[in-house]
Symmetry: C2
Subunit: 231 residues, 2 copies
């Protein structure tokens, strides 16, 4: 199985602009990418970062084993096109033209990803296995069908169900809070701090930036220490 | 295993007040409760609704087998106290004083609950198994320890981890998007319509009320047909 991790290498995570400077957003996005790559390698696979611009894995905070297992492919086309160019086609991977090598696509902002959660996805038996995020996004999927193609525009989880149906592919929805939580908006930062482990880079970055959990009566939010806020 | 489903029988789901009338909120909350009870029975258990006021299961839209398997216990105390009164104590369930019967607590607003997702929770081996929701809530848990007690006030998932640690109970976090999605706010209604099945009552109610998925370019939202809006 190939595991592709799409990554917006320039101006990532603009929806966090209210709480993070551009430099912080870049550092945070790279920390999440490093956590995702680590989880993929721990799950026994060699991830390919599908980056919109050149990226040197040496500049990420990665264990040597993860860095060595990873590679980068640059493709500046929109996400859907770049991913589709990586999906299996009939004849890939086997001389007889029938076997194809499945391709997994795991978004780089799944900061809560763990090897266990990824293994549950990677071991799904269907032609297409999808992990939906909130709002019918597609946070991760595995494609083991030569005709299935992605369409990340709009309600992609619903689209992917339809596309699978249209090409005669079986589809399984994989139930995971960890993989179903993509980190896009300020409210999502709570999840990084609540569920991240001590060795994860993304929560460490947030703490460096001065974020901490604020436990009020009704719920948990993140707060940024006054003196650490961007001026 | 006992399965307890806490249910606010009066004025439920006030955070949906912007989009649903009080009567609609009551009907929707009861539809979600019926879906949760059905999933519990499909998972092989007999649910007890822990209601804040008297509730007649005959008035819920339930299959006969589910209605027959269910029961109601009324407890008008705050959630934490009412649940703690139901948790196992040392000596429960066995003559020798060592065996206890585990108790599961599944919230009534987990509209996406399925038998599969519940079975994954119910089969957890730890003394305490917790399904967190967004914002560090506790959406469901199974307690198989005589000293563990819940505290739903505030960041309950974090509190429950601490409480388990303090009483020497092992804790497992169960990873489920379906059980991790509680339906509290208008934005959550999208998930009911995206992930509900054809036989589920909660999405059927929303459609009766005039809600439908609105698939714009960027994301999916729910929209309510103009003529169906409360005046």
């Amino acid at each position: 199985m190939q595991v592709v991790v799409p990554f917006a290498a320039t101006e990532p995570k603009t929806r966090l602009a209210d709480v993070l400077t551009p430099a912080e957003r870049t550092a945070f996005a790279r920390a999440m990418l490093a956590d995702v790559l680590t989880a993929v390698v721990e799950a026994g696979h060699e991830p390919t970062v599908l980056a919109t611009a050149p990226l040197d894995l040496e500049t990420l905070d990665l264990e040597a084993a993860v860095r060595d297992a990873g590679s980068v492919a640059v493709d500046d086309r929109p996400l859907t096109e770049a991913v589709n160019a990586r999906l299996p086609e009939r004849g890939d991977g086997g001389d007889d033209g029938t076997h194809i090598d499945p391709v997994a696509v795991v978004m780089a902002d799944l900061a809560l990803a763990t090897a266990d959660a990824l293994e549950a996805l990677f071991s799904a038996a269907a032609d297409v296995a999808v992990v939906p995020g909130r709002g019918a996004g597609t946070n991760a999927l595995v494609v083991d069908h030569p005709e299935f193609r992605v369409d990340y525009h709009g309600a992609s989880y619903l689209d992917h169900r339809e596309i699978a149906h249209d090409v005669g592919a079986t589809l399984e929805t994989v139930d995971s809070f960890r993989l179903g939580t993509d980190i896009d908006e300020p409210a999502d930062l709570v999840e990084v701090l609540v569920h991240g482990t001590e060795t994860d880079r993304a929560p460490a970055r947030l703490r460096e930036f001065g974020f901490e959990l604020e436990r009020t009566d009704g719920r948990v939010t993140v707060a940024r220490l006054e003196e650490s806020r961007p001026k």
